[in-house]
Symmetry: C2
Subunit: 349 residues, 2 copies
């Protein structure tokens, strides 16, 4: 039996994802006995709303986690690296939405629809995957389970809210300036800390996160490595090109896959996805029905459409996968992990 409620902390409670975490805990009625909103020193003192109550945000320190059972982190990798182990020391389970621990082999990287059972191996910290990875593996896991998966190739169309609230403001400000024939002055995108900044309004920028030595961006490497880890298949071939677009919320992905099994039909894949948890099939070309970022924003599911056979490879399929990057891509998946922990009896022990 579950308890009446858990003592929950949200680290980064004033950020875009933190705000969605509070809303999602409330909306999905996660059993919360007490909610402690934490943040950097800079945001401490701000107010946030939870279940109609105004709560004062406190600065996150190691001692903040005394008596906390569940801590949802989304305040940047350095905060997680410093404070998540402190929270665990004090008995909390941490669900971390940064990239700090994702590739640590002792830390489960979990999308409940795909690898919920990995939670049983946790040692205090559970990592929430990258937004663009989550929606893709949700769409592909039913296919992998039924027909095997050999290869994945993705080109992304990612929303600016994935880069934070300031990036959203920058996009809309640039739009307004361009419409008014004013000068623009890019300062944030594509990557806040990088050397150069480019126009995002009315543009498509093929850089998300910093470049690695191999010519891939860190975002691309996240999609490649995290997909293999979540699916427990190091031999899975994954390739990614990640592109930032002037879209507020909702990542879209052009995904090509090759299955292991021969003779799989588009109808079989559609039927499979239609019955799968967390997926809405939107696929009727005759009616111009396909997923759109503007439709997916604000919704929990991963939307899949435009499923069609490759014209050369009988084991190859193309599809279009869209989800709200702040919800399924971040806050919702973290809260789903919390529900899974509870269901598996791993919480509040």
């Amino acid at each position: 039996m579950s308890k009446l409620g858990y003592r929950v902390a949200v680290v980064g409670a004033t950020g875009a994802v933190g705000q969605q975490m509070l809303k999602t805990l409330e909306r999905l009625e996660f059993p919360v006995a007490s909610l402690l909103p934490l943040s950097s020193k800079r945001s401490a003192g701000k107010k946030v709303l939870f279940k109609g109550e105004e709560l004062t945000v406190q600065e996150a320190t190691p001692d903040s986690f005394e008596n906390i059972e569940l801590a949802l982190f989304s305040a940047g990798g350095s905060v997680s690296k410093a404070l998540a182990p402190e929270a665990v020391k004090r008995g909390a389970i941490v669900v971390d939405n940064t990239s700090a621990f994702r590739m640590d082999e002792n830390i489960p990287l979990v999308v409940p629809e795909v690898n919920e059972q990995d939670l049983k191996e946790h040692q205090g910290i559970i990592a929430n995957p990258n937004c663009s990875t989550i929606q893709m593996v949700v769409a592909l896991e039913p296919i992998r389970k039924a027909f095997g998966l050999k290869r994945v190739m993705v080109s992304t169309y990612q929303a600016v809210s994935g880069a934070g609230a300031e990036a959203v403001d920058e996009m809309y400000n640039q739009s307004r300036q361009i419409l008014n024939n004013e000068e623009i002055n890019p300062e944030i995108l594509p990557v806040g800390g990088d050397k150069k900044h480019y126009q995002i309004a009315y543009n498509a920028v093929p850089q998300i996160d910093l470049f690695q030595e191999n010519g891939y961006t860190f975002e691309e490497m996240k999609m490649i490595n995290e997909t293999k880890k979540i699916m427990h298949d190091d031999s899975l071939q994954v390739a990614a090109t990640c592109v930032r677009l002037p879209v507020e919320t909702g990542h879209s992905e052009s995904v090509y896959i090759e299955v292991e099994q021969d003779g799989v039909s588009v109808e079989e894949i559609k039927n499979l996805l239609q019955e799968s948890q967390g997926i809405t099939l939107q696929d009727d070309p005759k009616e111009q029905l396909y997923p759109l970022a503007t439709d997916a924003a604000g919704k929990d599911d991963v939307f899949v459409g435009r499923i069609r056979h490759d014209l050369d490879n009988t084991k190859g399929f193309h599809m279009w996968v869209v989800a709200d990057n702040l919800l399924k891509g971040a806050a919702l998946n973290s809260v789903q992990i919390a529900f899974s922990l509870e269901k598996l009896g791993l919480l509040g022990k």
Copy 2:
């Protein structure tokens, strides 16, 4: 020796591409003895500028082509189907920028950097390929020639100007309305004549042109079929997913290729493209140098960057290809065909 100039007609002279044709003929100093701007009945009487002179647009009829040596068509497929044969009957060579004749096996489909010699087979009409095809084959032909090409997979990021001036207006109007919290009312995109219309501002729409029975859009099938025809290789594997973005001008493409030859390096490909006609290499991740639609707009070249090895397939490479869809994708390629015709002695005979 070339003559002092040719008697040239531009059909669709008031359209977005027609306007670029006039500007490009003038800018590249194509030898024009006389310029006849033609259009539909609706636009007849309008004025256009050519070499500082105001010319009155006339309605295009079969007799308009009496004494014309070169006719550049860009007024829609039905106009080309009706009038291009009439122009040829009267002795003109037609360069047609619509999809009307592209897949006709007796009609050359030409990108001068790739298959200029095909012009020698013409029987009066030469087809200009689809915008998204042109920039891709320009980028890939040097690689194909040097190392062989087995497979091409592309996801596009296409600008609204490819759907005409009205689509550009719709995008900017929607942007303005959304910034002002006003209702939007999509009426044109994704496809003017289709049943449903969707928001393009702050969105990514995976439909360009009408859907075919096989689940692909006509735009996707154009990229697949035209690439094989231009490269004279029916066994080339080509796959495409075409997506419309809120970008005014400049198509971007995430392209994956597999070459035939073993052991090809990224450096070899970069060196090859750097020396190739019509291509500007923009590829320095350390300096965040990669092609951007906003940079390519207004320029003649095809810009290539983000070239990197696939992490699983030693013959596989990813790259990012950007060009101005109205210039190299349409008007410039048509004018380059005219120059090639002249160079090969095929014009004004």
